[in-house]
Symmetry: C2
Subunit: 148 residues, 2 copies
């Protein structure tokens, strides 16, 4: 089964700030979408919205502080439902490395190509948030194609 | 086998300029790496270099003007050798859509995660080149992590 994979390195002395940006409403709303709500603790459900384009509900399956975040998509576009999104963090010198996976896609549909590029752009927004204090979350995200 | 997939949409009235940027030394050197040399026609070999980090030699396997470009990696990092890189172009209204695939990876190694994000960033450089006249090729590319 095809997966979306990414790796970004964030200039930061420890994974603490990156972990916080993945596990708090304030953090998530500063790099992915300003329309973020819900419960960030394990078993909680997060709602990510993108204006008229709808969005995703994610259940928080696993949290290991400063190391690991795993979500499962429980509502959203049909292709996303049941897929899992993970962030593995580790420190390499001056960089917090984020290994990202979005797994469980049934088919490598065109929408998956779009989501792959878009995840890359949002992870660069996360990097920018930690390094400069400013990310590019929806509705001010970087547009990549005619699907936005 | 895992693949790297991306989709970008370039504001352009036809795929002609994008196709040219994928099939001429001048075009390739304006979005991927300024150190591009070789033969761009079918069966030709392209050399892409990235300063001290080495680079890739690609054989041009297939060309279908304004629609399709397929390369095979014949030299470079071990994980890349034998893999295939394709660009499928199509016009949707004001956008030239690029469907990108880098296929044939044996394992989803950490380097593949890096390459996935980096390809996304370079495809955004291609988009910028066509839309604004200015891309961000190596050595002025956007750095994504400690592997550059």
């Amino acid at each position: 089964m095809p997966d979306i994979l990414h790796r970004v390195g964030i200039k930061s002395p420890s994974p603490n700030d990156t972990y916080k940006a993945l596990t708090t409403i304030e953090g998530l709303s500063k790099w992915w979408t300003e329309e973020t709500q819900g419960e960030t603790k394990a078993d909680g459900v997060l709602q990510f919205r993108f204006g008229p384009n709808g969005g995703f509900d994610m259940q928080v399956l696993e949290l290991d502080p400063t190391k690991w975040v795993l979500w499962q998509v429980i509502d959203g576009p049909e292709e996303w439902i049941g897929t899992r999104i993970s962030f593995e963090l580790k420190q390499e010198g001056d960089f917090t490395i984020v290994l990202f996976k979005h797994q469980g896609w049934k088919e490598p549909v065109e929408f998956m190509h779009h989501c792959s590029t878009k995840w890359g752009v949002f992870l660069m927004s996360l990097k920018s948030l930690i390094e400069t204090g400013k990310g590019a979350p929806h509705p001010n995200d970087v547009l990549i194609d005619n699907w936005k």
